[in-house]
């Protein structure tokens, strides 16, 4: 179980997956007049492709 005392925002140890849940799918989406918003890109593909390639790189002998 995690520390029941809330840590300070600046002292967080953040798992990448938890962060990607939020920065790729959360936050305000602003469209129009921009070069690119991640809202225009297939999110699932980005996060999954990037993450899966890293996972398979860690497991060379995948059956």
């Amino acid at each position: 179980m995690s520390e029941p005392v809330p840590a300070h925002l600046a002292d967080r140890q953040i798992a990448l997956v938890d962060l990607l849940d939020r920065v790729l799918a959360g936050g305000v989406v602003v469209t129009g007049n921009i070069t690119l918003s991640i809202a225009d890109v297939d999110l699932v593909h980005i996060s999954l492709r990037a993450l899966l390639s890293s996972v398979s790189a860690l497991r060379p002998a995948d059956g």
Binding site: S2, L9, D21, G26, L36, V41, L48, L51
Partner: protein, 257 residues
């Protein structure tokens, strides 16, 4: 003087508070502010060679790049939120110039103001629940006295018992997860769920059965964390993990308002 590299304007957050002076952004750039309608858009100038549309589409597929940029984006937002209420902007929102950023503040200032009011004095917390590893469920079936039936029938009976026991454990876990989510949501100003993370990606043990976010009053944070611990103790079928505090990423959507 050489020709300047073409740059875009990366948007991190919108706030009403003064922004810390020495923040470094996703491209190692100094973070600055674009003002309008009493709002401050926290931005940085990023080279389009890496952060333009084409480059972004390619770079976002690179986990090391994505990881570095996501952490830098989060670090800026975290520093801004530490100063006062801010609305985080989704990763990879890049404008051509400051005028476009001002236009966004102009068009949507009422929505930003509304969201800023909503997150003021509140913090996001994450709670993930995992199905607890059950002891091998078919032990009692294996020890059952041999009946007159053949070994194949006995095997099938054991298999069925194991499956039933597993299904029952999952049902129990599902009920507990719903109860936990309701208890935690009752302590929060708002709650939402993200899709469960894949085990291969997140590297956790046990199936993830809840990946939720709660927007909690700062004064209630301790009580919320204590309630998470209590739920974890009381619910044998699941294991809980608390993450945070987070900037209010999961509660800053202007889209539906």
């Amino acid at each position: 003087m050489t020709e300047a590299t073409p740059t875009g304007v990366w948007l991190y957050a919108v706030t009403r508070e003064p922004v810390p002076g020495e923040l470094t952004g996703v491209a190692g750039e100094g973070v600055r502010v674009v003002e309008g309608h009493g709002l401050a858009a926290v931005v940085g100038d990023v080279p389009l060679g890496s952060f333009g549309e084409e480059a972004l589409r390619r770079n976002l597929e690179d986990l090391d790049w994505l990881s570095t940029v996501a952490r830098a984006h989060d670090a800026v937002i975290g520093a801004v939120v530490a100063r006062g209420p801010a609305v985080p902007i989704r990763l990879a929102t890049v404008y051509h110039d400051d005028d476009r950023v001002r236009a966004v503040l102009d068009e949507r200032h009422a929505e930003f103001a509304h969201t800023l009011d909503f997150v003021t004095g509140r913090t996001e917390w994450g709670v993930k629940a995992y199905l607890d590893q059950q002891p091998e469920p078919d032990e009692s079936a294996a020890r059952a006295p041999a009946s007159g039936r053949g070994a194949g029938t006995a095997y099938l009976a054991r298999r069925r018992a194991a499956q039933t026991s597993r299904a029952e454990a999952e049902d129990r876990a599902r009920e507990q997860v719903i109860a936990v989510h309701n208890r935690l949501a009752a302590l929060a100003a708002d709650a939402c769920t993200h899709p469960p993370q894949s085990r291969a990606l997140a590297g956790h043990h046990g199936q993830m059965v809840l990946n939720a976010a709660y927007l909690v009053e700062e004064s209630a944070a301790r009580g919320f964390a204590a309630e998470v611990a209590r739920c974890d103790d009381e619910c044998a079928a699941i294991r809980l993990q608390l993450t945070g505090p987070w900037p209010p990423y999961s509660f800053a959507s202007l889209e539906e308002s």
